[in-house]
Symmetry: D2
Subunit: 138 residues, 4 copies
């Protein structure tokens, strides 16, 4: 899926480029849009008492993004197993199509007690949505 947005002025730093930490936030924006598109509302999930913390992030910065640019974040759900799922991201410039960054994040589902949630048993609807999305990628 593609998520497109303009760079905000406050995302730049004195190097005159977007501060690298903001890419991690763009990943989240794209991810929440993606989850919403497959029928997984982040707010509903949290209301069910589930949280899905980030287990890891990584990002390789390939070329600089500046204020005035519009970027596209292409996001793919690359795996979903039990309570863990991972995404890949490619950030490109909308105009030039140049790749700006590549990254990935991994996540899990925890219940209110902070323990890994048995999605298949306790939250079959979310399990099905995620399984479907993970198989759609191929």
């Amino acid at each position: 899926m593609d998520y497109t947005r303009k760079v905000f002025y406050y995302e730049t730093d004195q190097m005159g480029i977007v501060h690298h930490s903001n890419f991690i936030r763009w990943f989240e924006e794209a991810r929440i849009g993606y989850l919403s598109s497959i029928g997984y509302s982040y707010n509903e999930i949290e209301q069910l008492g589930l949280i899905s913390p980030v287990l890891s992030v990584n990002c390789e910065y390939i070329s600089m993004v500046r204020f005035g640019d519009t970027v596209n974040v292409n996001i793919k759900l690359t795996s979903f197993k039990y309570v863990k799922f991972t995404f890949d991201y490619v950030v490109t410039d909308v105009k030039t199509k140049d790749v700006r960054a590549k990254g990935s994040t991994s996540h899990c589902f925890l219940n209110k007690q902070g323990r890994p949630a048995n999605l298949k048993k306790d939250y079959p609807q979310i399990y099905d949505i995620m399984m479907q999305a993970a198989s759609d990628k191929e």
Copy 2:
């Protein structure tokens, strides 16, 4: 009370100065330090089911702050009445003593139901701490 801290690189923008929104965050840092110093732990308050949202902020930017600078935020509790309280802030450069900004914020106490909390009746300990602090200012 005085709260001192260095400017972080990621707080700058492409103008080469600290982005103005960060002063609002510095006010909060100073405020939480102040409240902690008078015996008011923000976490304990929230555990009691009280929240204290911000009702208003204002900030006048007098001179620019840059990466490499260390700033001092002088904070004063200027009033406390029933459920509402206000602070004044003066941001100065630690080295030059130049005033960088002046601001103020106002806040209230709400209970779990989102209604103004009767501090004097239901949270006398917090009420006493705030009354004491407000009278200390003179």
Copy 3:
């Protein structure tokens, strides 16, 4: 002019609402969109050697904004005189039309030397754009 956007997850805080500092950033997003719409490109201005720092901000928070909400920022250029200009902002919820916040910001134009720029003489094109926009408001 209206600027609409979704709330980002990372804009929330542990109170479960959007952190108040982010409204100041939304004002900037709306402002840059507005300036762009009247033919004033922020990047071109900076390339001319002009900067327009923020002189003051204020914001009154009326009701809480949460993740899942979409907000509209209505922005008006309320005055433009010599080197100084001011904006008013009203943030509303797109669905309920409830007012979430009201604010204003003031700005000036400085040249490379950090001195107030004589727009009318040295940058007549920007001067005309701003004068036109300021008169359009009525």
Copy 4:
């Protein structure tokens, strides 16, 4: 080297924990402190016309950090070769000593033209500082 600091309220999100993107910013805070401690002033470097963009970041989140916590970021320069250098980070809770996160970043030096800088030839002083620091780690 160790860099210690309190968690700021605005760094939390509605999950009630520090938003994961902030760890990337803490890495930068620690890194700039480290570079300063070995005699490398970030501002001076930029005034020489050198920039050192981030090439990659990664972070593994091991346990949650909450408002009220104080964290320590242990930073190590793990390599320096020609124009590229890398750091490792371990974030621990100051009180419990629990590991909160582990990460790394890589960086390079670019000159004003955006090309890799020949540090040894053109900036021998910085080259020597970095070489010394990289050898000190053993």
